[in-house]
Amino acid sequence: LSHVSKIELEIKDLEALKAACQRLGFKFRKVKRPINGMVAGLETVHYLEGITEEELGKCDHAIHVPGAKYEIGIVKKGKSLSLLWDSWVKGGLEKHIGKDAGKLKQIYAVEKIRLEARKKGMKILESIKPKSIRLTLSI
């Protein structure tokens, strides 16, 4: 019997996010100061509902992307982690993390699945396709 589902991705696991950053060559850090970026204007800032303009750039963690002037902020909201970033072209982030941070979300999902599959003792086979990554888990 075969079942197919589509899943809405929610970022919750800090360890998986750190693993994704490592895989992509990004530097994950706990911030003591506002992150770099988010100066271009609100039209290019990807941020959360409920965050005020004054709160922009004040995050719990940050991701530094080599080659980009701006950084990605991570804000804790309940059990979820939200990415806060500015796609202004001169900030250089979109080139590295994809439109709507798609590339970063993809690698986060892959690392989260690998982490959980290892806990369950599953065998993991990963294959890279032109526009996707396929994980085959077997028991």
Binding site: L1, H3, L9, K105, A109, A117, K120, M122, L135
Partner: protein, 32 residues
């Protein structure tokens, strides 16, 4: 053989297919 095939696209969309499971076991095993 029980298998879970997960396709993660480069925009972060996740598609999951389970094979060889019976009943609710596929839901339990594919909780990530």
């Amino acid at each position: 053989l029980k298998e879970i095939v997960i396709e993660v696209s480069d925009d972060g969309e996740v598609r999951l297919e389970t094979k060889g499971f019976e009943g609710k076991a596929c839901l339990e095993e594919s909780q990530f």
